[in-house]
């Protein structure tokens, strides 16, 4: 009996090793196992004990590497990891199927939620459309479904669900009770636009993060996972959006061909419902593919870090040579803030994909150069903004830009210190990672300040 148990254990170990070979599917392993057992039985009858029989049988089967290589030669498509698994395949377990149904249900919920206001006469499109309502509330309508996806998946308790509701309720109250005049009135309402821009960021860094990490928002590793997730999610969202654009294009084309105006169909249904549903579907795909497919964000980071470093260096050099200062218009300020946030993103994703134990490499030096260049640009932008503010006083836009630039200045400055320490071997890489994850709440807090406090301070101008 114990002999049998030992054999069973050896066979299950052997299966486990084989399972790691991508080209060999469980059904193939079943077949090989039958072979192995037949061989073991035959050898046992010939007088070998179970253990010897097992080892001889395994040896005759050939090395796992070469068998797996033969299978790979035969099934080359198996080396391309397939995300959406065909029915009947091993990954389509009941759990995965249930999750897929939940995700599709929540995506449909998000798509419906964005259309619910129509029932109450608030139109997204058309002559009496209320653009402001959608600008204020789109994220508040859709993101709860995203949050619910992860709250369900992580098995969040009631307290977690309540905590999760707080940012949404707060956002709904702020956006709908503040006496904004409405964007569509064509009057420049800086605070309102600022609130609309910062709300998604504020919600993402609070509610989405909280749901994704299953309430364990204090954990730095979990926050880093959320950063990784965000990068992948963004890429998936863009890909889905491209597909959606093709779909919308063909919708327009086929209906025009029969003399039917497809505009309302596209503008009122495909675009808003698709954009809302894709938030949830993208999240589910990223969560599902985790570990199946290489992360894309670090690859893009690796590709673009040298290019952005070059851009920033050339830009600074041009500024020095020509003596031209950055002009302080809203678009320019937003553009520079986006550029700096993007650099921070490059830094974050490089960190997220890096093995903290690995020694410094050339890429790390390049990264440091990028961060230094970004810091210089940040200082130049700050200079331009403060010069403007001292001349004309504080406006909401300039104050928001000032705040973000200071936030970035602190982040980039300390990153440079930590990076230099790492490159000179005086501190571990983990310190830099920890600094970045520790800094996330600062961005969240700032976003909420702009959303909720700016309108009050600046009297809704």
């Amino acid at each position: 009996m114990t002999k049998d148990a030992l054999l069973e254990e050896r066979i299950s170990e052997w299966r486990e090793y084989f399972r790691r070979r991508q080209a060999v599917k469980p059904a193939d392993i079943d077949e090989l196992e039958d072979h192995l057992r037949s061989q073991v039985d035959a050898l046992s009858e010939a007088g070998l004990d179970a253990d010897e029989a097992f080892f001889v049988a395994v040896k005759r089967l050939g090395s796992m590497d070469s068998v797996a290589r033969e299978f790979a030669g035969e099934y080359s498509e198996r080396l391309w990891k397939q995300l959406v698994v065909a029915p009947g395949a091993e990954a389509a377990s009941p759990v995965v199927q249930r999750e897929a149904l939940v995700a599709i249900g929540l995506a449909a919920g998000a798509a419906i939620a964005i259309k619910v206001p129509e029932l109450f006469g608030v139109h997204f499109d058309g002559p009496d459309h209320n653009e402001a309502f959608y600008a204020h509330n789109a994220m508040i309508l859709v993101l709860p479904f995203f949050a619910a996806l992860f709250a369900l998946k992580r098995g969040m308790r009631a307290a977690g669900w309540f905590a999760l509701a707080v940012p949404f309720v707060a956002a709904a109250l702020i956006m709908n009770l503040m006496p904004f005049a409405g964007i569509s009135n064509n009057v420049e309402r800086q605070t309102e636009i600022l609130s609309v821009i910062h709300l998604p960021i504020g919600l993402w860094l609070t509610a989405s993060l909280f749901a994704y990490v299953g309430g364990r928002w204090r954990s730095h590793d979990q926050r880093m996972n959320f950063v990784r997730f965000t990068g992948e999610w963004f890429i998936y969202y863009v890909l889905i959006a491209l597909g959606g654009a093709v779909l919308a294009g063909f919708t327009a084309f086929v209906f025009r061909a029969i003399g039917f105006n497809p505009e309302p169909l596209i503008a009122q249904w495909i675009v808003p419902c698709g954009a809302a549903g894709a938030i949830v579907i993208g999240a589910w795909l990223v969560e599902f593919k985790q570990g199946v497919i290489e992360n894309m964000a670090p690859v893009l980071t690796w590709l673009f870090t040298p290019l952005f470093t070059a851009l920033l260096l050339v830009f600074v050099a041009t500024m020095v040579v020509t003596g031209n200062a950055i002009s302080v218009e809203r678009e320019v300020l937003i553009g520079f803030d986006l550029l700096l946030v993007l650099v921070l993103g490059l830094l974050l994703y490089a960190i997220s994909a890096r093995d903290p134990q690995a020694p410094p490499r050339l890429f790390d030096r390049l990264q440091l150069l990028l961060v230094i260049a970004a810091l210089v640009v940040d200082v130049l932008a700050l200079w331009a903004i403060t010069a403007r503010i001292s001349e004309f006083g504080f406006s909401p836009n300039k104050t928001a830009a000032l705040g973000l630039n200071i936030l970035l200045l602190i982040n980039l400055g300390w990153s440079i210190v930590l990076y230099t320490r790492f490159l000179t071997g005086r501190s571990p890489f983990k310190a830099l990672e920890r600094w970045q994850t520790a800094y996330l709440p600062a961005f969240a807090a700032w976003a909420w300040v702009v959303v909720a406090i700016f309108p009050v301070i600046f009297k809704y101008q």
Partner: protein
């Protein structure tokens, strides 16, 4: 006698098809049969048989069904198809041609090998 790897690989497909033309079978039994037929001279690495069987299955030369072994284990049984039988026929003819050619040389006078190599030498010198 140690049969070269290349030859083992080349002969694997016709052998498998030929064994399956005797009737339905499964991996372990096929290997045992190969060993019997060649009096133990043809040694396969057992694991290599399966990719070959799967390729034959994908090409439609054999078909496979999951069944049960006599002890109740799941076991994949293979059966030759009409296309497989045709393929076997073709391969048999090819092997026959090779075999005939080799026999033709073997039945030649005893110093054939020596003369053969001399011939090839002069051939090379000419060119």
């Amino acid at each position: 006698m140690n049969i070269q790897k290349d030859l083992v690989a080349a002969s694997a497909t016709p052998l498998v098809l030929a064994i399956l033309s005797e009737g339905e079978s499964y991996g372990y039994a096929i290997i045992k049969r190969v060993s019997e037929l060649s009096s133990g001279e043809l040694k396969w690495t057992d694991g290599m048989l399966y990719p070959i069987l799967h390729r034959l299955e994908r090409n439609g030369h054999v078909e496979a069904v999951w069944g049960k072994s006599e002890t109740g284990r799941s076991r994949k049984y293979y059966r030759i198809t009409r296309a497989g039988a045709e393929q076997l026929d073709r391969q048999r003819r090819e092997w026959h041609v090779v075999d005939q050619a080799l026999r033709g040389i073997r039945t030649a006078p005893a110093d054939a090998s020596k003369r053969g190599s001399d011939d090839s030498k002069t051939e090379r010198e000419k060119s």
